[in-house]
């Protein structure tokens, strides 16, 4: 590198959220005309770092320099003014406008206060041409396939003449061919001297595209090195090679017969041909990176989404779960990933939330038996250690860990044979996490078949008797207890097919 300052230098960046230290003194340097990949497990701090760069969050500590000049990025608009272009995983396009209109949305060329349509179209066409993107400027964005929308999104960021572009998982929903078209666009931007930050779980892409690689783990910088000669195995080792700091006690439980049996479960665009079994007393982990289809599989088993094909059996009886009611009646319970959206009714009390899925048990001819309901709610709240166990208090006055216990309580009140847990310890503090692990252990000891999704590898490895790894909607490996983090990551990133 020459003596000139890099396009971006972030140093000593730290950021905490209540109860979580998301980033600890992380540094990142990206030169103009360089593709710099950032890799790491879910929750390693990649998104937080990028949101700080985009002005969405302010760092607690640390400095940001653009072209050698220290700056404070006040917000997303300020970030764009300073030449930082963000392309997020979720597309931010207006489907009813044309490609050209979307690309120039930030600052449409105008004459006398009216949009100059001719200039607008020419500008967009020029941008697309520069990028070598084969998209027609007059097409409606909503009519394009996702891959082309992705290119439009990049063109939109490029149109504001940025010095830095962040691509967050740009290929997560693209096929191999489509990804190649995207890589060509990245190469063009690189040739134009733009500093490119590239976030991806697909390690092969990183090897193919990147000049530099930065590995983050648990909110800390592990290593920044040249991508030359790097292998997927190197990256996986850096991503997961950590000491176990949390202790996950595992109680040994006799394993019984198969309770949950899933065969050839498929849903178009989400997952394909999923086979899995969970036995009584067994805790089975479902691992994989974000977007591998874990939550989708869980929702389909429970009946929140409809599978296109395949069978689900509970204790040998087929379940035709097109609605959660049928799943619940068959003895399946699902603690969802997104507690706020799918778990709780914030305006209701702890009691009302706990009994919501099992009101039939505490009512006669549609009338709720007040005393029976209170008894169930009190029992479950006490059993799960909701503290304080004031069942008439609104649930949204409780902390995240207690709220999660209320969701657990709701599902335990349905006396399930199969319990599906989707990220059961996400966003809860360390104490509540240990409580939840011990609850999971007790349920297994009582003979419940448990299928657990978790993005935290140490958790999956410590708690599970067996692990299925999903990669791009398929089971890529079935691993026994004692498998290593490397084994799981290799299967999760598609490096090996088991």
């Amino acid at each position: 590198m020459s003596t000139s300052a890099p396009a971006l230098r972030m140093s000593g960046i730290s950021k905490s959220f209540p109860g979580i230290r998301a980033l600890t003194s992380v540094g990142l340097e990206v030169a103009a005309g360089e593709v710099h990949a950032i890799v790491g497990e879910n929750g390693a701090g990649k998104s937080t770092l990028m949101k700080i760069l985009a002005g969405v969050y302010q760092p607690d500590e640390g400095t940001i320099e653009l072209q050698g000049e220290a700056v404070r990025i006040a917000g997303p608009i300020d970030a764009r003014k300073r030449g930082i272009g963000m392309v997020y995983q979720e597309l931010n396009l207006v489907p009813d406008l044309s490609v050209a209109e979307n690309i120039t949305l930030g600052a449409p060329p105008s004459r006398f206060g009216f949009v100059d349509r001719k200039a607008l179209r020419a500008r967009a066409a020029a941008v697309l041409d520069e990028l070598g993107a084969k998209v027609h400027p007059d097409d409606l964005v909503g009519s394009l396939p996702v891959s082309q929308q992705q290119l439009v999104e990049i063109a939109k960021a490029y149109a504001s003449s940025p010095r830095i572009i962040v691509l967050d998982e740009p290929t997560s929903s693209l096929s191999e061919n489509e990804a190649q078209a995207l890589f060509r666009v990245v190469e063009r931007m690189k040739a134009a001297g733009i500093a490119i930050i590239y976030i991806s779980h697909r390690l092969r892409e990183v090897i193919e595209l990147a000049d530099q690689v930065t590995v983050l783990r648990d909110g800390r910088l592990v290593e920044t090195r040249s991508a030359e000669g790097i292998t997927a195995a190197d990256m996986i080792r850096l991503m997961v090679g950590r000491d176990l700091t949390d202790v996950f006690p595992k109680t040994e439980v006799p394993i019984g017969d198969v309770v949950l049996e899933v065969r050839d479960l498929s849903r178009k665009g989400e997952f394909d041909g999923i086979d899995l079994d969970v036995r009584a007393g067994e805790i089975v982990g479902l691992a994989g990176i974000v977007g591998a289809g874990r939550t989708e599989v869980a929702r389909a088993i429970f009946g929140l989404d409809r599978a296109d094909r395949g069978v689900v059996r509970v204790n040998g009886d087929p379940v035709h779960a097109h609605q959660p009611r049928q799943g619940v009646d068959a003895g399946i319970a699902y603690v969802p990933e997104d507690r706020k959206r799918d778990g709780l009714i914030p305006q209701l009390t702890v009691k009302e939330n706990i009994t919501l899925a099992s009101l039939g048990e505490v009512s006669t001819a549609g009338w709720i038996r007040g005393r029976a309901e209170r008894r169930v709610a009190t029992d479950k709240a006490t059993e799960l250690g909701v503290s304080p166990p004031v069942i008439d208090r609104r649930v949204d006055t409780y902390s995240g860990g207690n709220q999660q216990k209320v969701v657990f309580a709701k599902w335990l009140a349905t006396k399930p044979a199969v319990l599906i847990l989707d990220e059961p310890t996400r966003g809860v503090d360390v104490g509540a996490k240990a409580d939840i692990h011990s609850i999971i252990g007790q349920l297994a000891a009582q003979g419940t078949a448990i299928l657990m999704i978790s993005s935290e590898l140490p958790e999956v490895l410590a708690v599970s008797d067996r692990i299925y790894v999903l990669h791009e909607g398929r089971v890529s490996a079935e691993l026994p207890r004692g498998a290593s983090e490397q084994d799981v990551m290799r299967a999760a990133t598609g490096e090996v097919a088991a």
Binding site: P18, G19, L304, Q323, P324, R325, G327, V328, Y334, P336, R341, D342, G343, L344, I345, P346, Q347, L348, E352, L356, A357, L359, G360, S363, G366, W367, I368, G370, R394, D396, T397, Y398, S399, G400, G401, K410, D429, V430, G431
Partner: protein
Amino acid sequence: MSAPTVSTDRVVKQGFLARYGTQFAMPAGILVLLVVGTVLSDRFLSVGNLTNVLINMSIVGIIVVGMTFVFVTRGMADLSVPATLAVGGLLVLMLDDVIGTWPAALIGLAVATFAGLVNGLLIGYAGLNPVITTLASGTIVLGIAQAFVGGVIVYGEDPAAKDFLTGRLFDVVPMIVLIFAVVAVLGHLVLSRTVFGRWTYAVGGNPHATEASAVPVRRVKAGAFVLTAALAGFAGVLLGISLQAARPGIGAGYEFDAITAVVVGGVSLLGGSGSIPRAIGGLLFVQLLTNILTLQGVPSEPQGMVKGALIAGAVALDVYLRRRGGRE
């Protein structure tokens, strides 16, 4: 850990004003109106006048019970009330000389309920916007009613039924007020004590989590509109019988009065909270205010302005309290 405890305390403290503020505001407001009314007019605080207030609020009060369910499910509002009310009123008077008043009343009720079922299917199952759907269905139903009766007034043939409804139990309690009270108590019990009532709150509070809890969300949403249409039809039947005359426009304004009452009662448009007693508190407040203005000789046009301002004020207060409550 100390951090989560602190944040919990903060939320509770913020919620304090939101909860208790709204709980005591309405009784206090009604009390203030009673005092103001008494000071302004010596005719206000009399059994006769206050009984009249109750009689005047009974018909719309029956609709308020249904409208509360709609609000609590986050169904916004049912604008087809004028049509379903007219259906009840017209049918009972058209058929009373053919099959008798009470069977005719049942038919009026059934047809109104059927209109509510259509609303419920479109809103709950097809997911259409409730305001637009009920506006459209109300216009259609009213159009059919007008085509049937030709825009003229239909007269009843049963003065006995009229005497029964406009009479008083033991010469004290007006029959219509008694009917309203029974509907209100039943509605309150259903909303607060039954599975359907609990589901109603849950659906309005968080439809996603409710669906994930194996609750038939669409059926519950539809149910609120079926109930409102049935109650509006019932109100129409009562109105038709007690007036012994009805025209297609008989229900105009009832939807507005019911919405006013529910909103002033502090039942949130955002769903998930509120109760029948609160909505009826709002109705009582509006009716007392109207009564005071009328006794003061204020013409009806400025009264409309006051009611409109009340709605805007109540909605603003709801939004403000929700923010103070630390949510959304």
